[in-house]
């Protein structure tokens, strides 16, 4: 297993990285992290996906059947608040966006499950933090992330957190950035979409991307 992973050309992510995925809506951020997630799973990683906008069902039907379902764990923060009573399964647990304690405990349980079955390479996706920030104040979300990013570091996992551009003030973004080792930025210009990577140590050029239902391709 490689020790690092290229998400866009020339950007190697180290284990223990917490990455913010930042950009305006409809630039392909969700599709981008989904396809990264799928790639990691196919490389033998265990994956934990936290959903605040789509249901677990949506994600699973996108993933299709061509993956090892033992390697995928989902926390669905949508379904419970819509239909009320839903039963957790081994791989899908339900929570609500305001229940940060529940989300945190469930992520941690999934980490334990993976480790106890010998899977120690883990990828976490959080889509998205912006939804949390609609219900909870910045300080509260920051404390929650402090614990989660810490767990990702100590287990040498990799995590991606989506944040919508245009929904939060400057202070929120600056505060959140303290928790992350780098940012994958998206932008749209004249109907074309671009991505780049920015960290305290490096910054890539903007690269054009093509987004469809299946994947995000960096050209």
């Amino acid at each position: 297993m490689n020790m690092s992973y290229q998400i866009i050309p020339n950007v190697e992510l180290k284990k223990g990285s917490n990455i913010m995925v930042y950009g305006p809506t409809f630039t392909g951020k969700s599709m981008f992290v989904r396809s990264i997630f799928r790639d990691f799973i196919s490389r033998g990683y265990g994956g934990i996906y936290v959903l605040t906008k789509d249901s677990a069902e949506t994600l699973m039907s996108w993933l299709g059947t061509g993956y090892d379902s033992r390697k995928v764990r989902i926390i669905d923060c949508v379904t419970k608040s819509m239909v009320g009573n839903v039963k957790d399964t081994d791989s899908v647990k339900y929570s609500t966006v305001m229940d940060l304690t529940g989300i945190s405990a469930k992520i941690s349980k999934f980490f334990e499950d993976f480790w106890r079955s010998g899977i120690k390479n883990i990828v976490v996706v959080f889509d998205s933090l912006s939804t949390l920030l609609m219900y909870m104040n910045l300080q509260t979300v920051f404390r929650f992330l402090h614990i989660l990013t810490g767990r990702v570091k100590i287990t040498e996992s990799i995590a991606f957190y989506i944040v919508e551009d245009g929904m939060h003030d400057e202070k929120t973004i600056v505060t959140l950035k303290q928790l992350f080792s780098g940012v994958v930025e998206f932008k749209e210009d004249n109907g074309r979409k671009y991505v780049r990577f920015v960290s305290p140590f490096m910054q890539t050029e903007w690269r054009e991307i093509v987004v469809d239902e299946e994947a995000v391709v960096v050209t």
Binding site: L100, G102, F114, W115, K120, F144
Partner: protein, 393 residues
Amino acid sequence: MKVISGIPVLDEMIEEIPEGKVLTYWIDPEVEGNVFAMQTLFTNLERDCRCAYVTLTYSPEVVVSEFNEFGWDVENYKNFNIVDLHSAYVGLPSNCKYSADPTNVDEVNDVLMKVIENCDLVVVPVSSIIDVCGESSIECIGEWCDFIRDKSSRLVFTFVSWPYPEKIENFIKVNSNAIVRVGGVHHRVILGYYYGVVKVDWKNIKSKAILFKLVRPGGVRAYIPKILVTGPYNAGKSTFVHAVSMRSISVDRLGTTVALDHGHLEYRGFSIDLFGTPGQERFDPILKIIGKEALGVILVVDSTKPETFPRAKQMLESVAHFGLPYVVAANKQDLPGALPPEEVRKKMYLPEDVPIIPVSAVNGEGVYEVIDSLLGLLTGRLWVSEDEPESTA
């Protein structure tokens, strides 16, 4: 009316939650500790107490379904009240008898005091209130603590210990008459969960950690940690298990263990099950199964036989694979030619932070140091750390 915690072992320790007292469940942010307060509430509901559950981050419907998940049919009890701070917060009308807008301090205060007057027990999610209403809400929480002192009710707080400023933590500590810590056994990931009393001002108690599992339905169940004793053939595993155990059995044939050694020990408040694995190669599959359930590993090596170290190392790798913490017992130190721990470390290429304890299992020397060392790895972070709420007992 007597109110109890409804939590196994805890009730024997603290007996009851007396009138006018505040009991806080102090919960690790990665542990599902809310169940403790729910279990306390439901236990007393069944005993005909009037109980109230304040909710802020869950809707009243979700609260009921959370209780139901554990088999607690709160909705069938007329003494069950929900204090709904959620609906107003998300802009919905409330159909609960008690409700308030959490952003309106006076409104919340009025309702809470009314509830305290009318109930024997009130569960309050204090950290959620701090999260949603800001840090200044501790003043409000302080008022409830003062208010309850001469009332025939009790407050049960759930405080999730997110990285709050010290001021907040201290505030909760000072205002709680009892604190029950609900924590995780951390070793990179959380491998297990425990609870223990760290403060109680109405009883003198000996502090004790109890491991638990959550059962649905059922709730909090205390359980016994399994510790795996492994090592090469003839290293002294069976002897070790017998030396520390109060009761133990081995399934041996011609002096070698063919199935398992099993021993049980009560030690420093822990109730521990030890499992010795057979040392012969063909038993590796058993080791794998136990490895999945165990909480820690003791590797026994014969310090006079460095030729067995590669095998020992190999066994260690297969358990370390499951992320379990381990210590090494450098056994047979009474024999001439036994290598001292540092030599064992060198010959086995073990990192500096792996504890290696000199042991003579036949003489019972060093065996409890091994247990101590492993418990230290498992719980040290939480029980030894300085930021722990202090025990007044």
